[in-house]
């Protein structure tokens, strides 16, 4: 039977020859990831349900990244990190990346990639909706709540409904003013925030396989914004090179069969696309940058698992080099590794970090920061009726802090161009 890549991986994980969309199956989980917001309640449920003798099904497969609320004076947030710390200690967890230590990594989805946990052909669950990001590695990855995570923690298993797949083929050469963010915003505008509920989003085409891993992760990251269970891109030589540089675990590469069934198939020619934004207050509220050009801003934000990767900062630095920002502009590297690379990567001998500082940007420590608002002392948080343009993934009311604020989502190029004028600006004006 012809199957999609998602169906093949789920067949393997459920030890079946084949699976069909709509079937409920039990999966063997390869990695469970959690963080400081959902880790503590997950551990509490696991202890409640499995009692004093609760056992972690496989300690090597549990990965914990404090990343959400970590640079704050909020005592309840700090208590959450302390719970993780004690838990990691009590169970001698190898894969705990404590904040305040050399091991600290930053935003979980990017850290999973960097630390070699993303392995083609495997199944990864995380207590975070953007766990779909890992699908950029030709694997099945999806988010779950604390109860499901606690169940996995004790059993290594979880039920899932096999998703129908929707395919997006991007062909053509990406023009220099476009990034993966522009592509995924157009997908969302096309299918809307519930257009892929319980579905898999599969991306392919020459426009996708020409992208770096960083940029591929921008596509899969926002699959959840369409309600999708997972986003997926088959592994190729780019993926293999990235994975092999980080782990010697074995991997298996799956591809969709040519006769596989799709709920829908959308085709785009990327050479004809133009920069887009999602207007307040929904990621599917699509418009071209040109149509909202001139909208006055109070703040610009480049960060998060969507838009805080090295590739995002390279795009931004291209425009900010030698220029000055006109509104407060926050640079929040997703991970400590990205932060390090901002000091190492240069344009004309000047480091990206220096370029940002010279332009007047505020460079923050790696974490989720204001992507999800967070405690009141979170850097970059939206206050009052601010108007913000951001490389993050959600602009629901209140997502970045104040519920009176308005957030536009855009590519790092569009955000950088807008920072230079203080109002929404098409990056083509600077390129």
């Amino acid at each position: 039977m012809a199957m999609t890549i998602t169906e093949k991986i789920l067949s393997k994980s459920s030890k079946r020859k084949s699976v069909e969309p709509g079937e409920n199956i039990w999966l063997d989980v390869d990695v469970l990831m959690t963080h400081d917001v959902c880790g503590p309640p997950t551990i509490a449920i696991w202890k409640r349900e499995f009692g004093k003798d609760a056992k972690i099904w496989d300690k090597d497969k549990l990965v914990i990244f404090p990343d959400h609320y970590i640079f704050t004076k909020n005592s309840q947030a700090n208590r959450n990190v302390e719970i993780l710390r004690q838990f990691a200690n009590e169970y001698s967890l190898e894969n705990y990346y404590d904040v305040g230590t050399e091991r600290y990594k930053g935003v979980c989805h990017i850290a999973l990639a960097e630390e070699g946990y993303n392995i083609p052909g495997t199944v990864l669950f995380g207590t975070d909706s953007h766990t779909c990001t890992s699908g950029a590695f030709g694997m099945f990855s999806t988010g779950v709540g604390n109860t499901d995570a606690a169940f996995i923690l004790g059993t290594g298993k979880i039920w899932e409904k096999v998703p129908e797949s929707i395919k997006f083929t991007f062909d053509g050469d990406l023009p220099p003013y476009l990034t993966a963010k522009d592509l995924i915003l157009q997908v969302l505008g096309e299918i809307t925030t519930d257009g892929a509920t319980y579905c898999a989003l599969e991306f392919d085409g020459s426009g996708v396989f020409s992208l770096s891993i960083d940029e591929r992760m921008t596509l899969t990251n926002m699959a959840i914004e369409a309600g999708a269970m997972n986003g997926i891109i088959a592994a190729d030589s780019v993926t293999e090179a990235y994975v092999k540089a980080r782990t010697n675990k074995s991997y298996e590469i799956f591809q969709s069969d040519s006769g596989a069934k799709y709920k829908a198939h959308y085709k785009f020619d990327v050479s004809k696309m133009e920069p887009h934004v999602a207007k307040p207050h929904s990621p599917d509220n699509l418009d071209t940058v040109r149509n909202v050009q001139g909208t006055k801003l109070t703040k610009c934000y480049i960060g998060s698992c969507t838009g805080g990767k090295l590739s995002d900062f390279k795009f931004a630095a291209k425009l900010l080099f030698g220029n000055k920002v006109q509104v407060p502009t926050f640079i929040v590297p997703a991970s400590t590794s990205v932060a390090r690379q901002l000091e190492e990567e240069t344009i004309s001998g000047i480091s990206l970090k220096q370029i940002f500082e010279n332009a007047g940007c505020i460079v923050a420590q790696s974490s989720c920061a204001a992507c999800l608002g967070g405690p009141s002392d979170t850097i970059g948080r939206a206050t009052d009726n601010e108007v913000i343009i951001s490389t993050t993934n959600r602009n629901f009311p209140g997502r970045m802090g104040s519920k009176k604020s308005a957030v536009y989502l855009a590519s790092p190029l569009t955000v950088a161009a807008s920072a230079l004028t203080g109002s929404i600006t098409d990056p083509r004006d600077f390129l």
Binding site: A44, N74, S129, N146, T155, G227, R394
Partner: protein, 186 residues
């Protein structure tokens, strides 16, 4: 599982996301400490724009004053209820506030799973659009065995979609109870 759930409707629009259900800044409270976890109830649905809070006219905060429980125990939503983050704090907050069931046209996957696997509340799917037919404050009666919703205030009756595949988990109480009953775990 209760057979009949009676109470007052709280009506919301489409795409009620988890940031509106429980804003991210409140995710720091303990979910297991009974006293502290009341804060989740207090802040439930606190980020719904006031014009959208309690339709059709809006302006009805879900929680009044310092309370942590709402006078409304059945939420009527539109499409894509619970989209956004994976935070289980969202169905938990609604449960603490006293919500027993949601009836919406459709749900986001993670929110739906969380409602069911955590045993927090019943996520029913309506067959027709209900959030323009039912008003906040209407007296409702939900017949769980027969999948029927009765609006006592207007006298109208609506059929709901059966809970389908997930019924065994709902009947057991949550995913752990289900797994114990079916011998998956000890």
């Amino acid at each position: 599982m209760e057979k009949i759930i009676k109470g007052k409707a709280y009506v919301l629009g489409n795409n009620i996301d988890t940031d509106q259900i429980i804003p991210a800044e409140h995710l720091v409270y303990s979910l297991s400490d009974p006293e502290e976890s009341k804060k989740y109830g207090h802040f439930a649905l606190s980020s719904v724009p006031i014009s959208q809070a309690g339709l059709p006219e809006g302006g009805h905060p879900f929680i009044k004053g310092d309370n942590y429980q709402s006078e409304y125990n059945i939420v009527i939503g539109g499409s894509n209820f619970g989209c956004g983050s994976s935070r289980e704090h969202a169905p938990f907050a609604l449960q603490v506030a006293g919500v027993q069931a949601i009836i919406a046209e459709s749900y986001a996957r993670i929110f739906y799973r969380n409602c069911v696997d955590g045993g927090f509340l019943l996520p029913y799917e309506s067959i027709e659009k209900l959030n323009d037919q039912i008003k906040t404050g209407d007296e409702l009666e939900l017949d769980v065995h027969n999948n029927i919703l009765k609006n006592i205030t207007t006298g109208k009756t609506y059929n709901l979609r059966s809970l389908g595949d997930i019924l065994p988990i709902i009947e057991a109480g949550d995913i752990f109870k289900y797994a114990r009953q079916s011998g998956m775990i000890a």
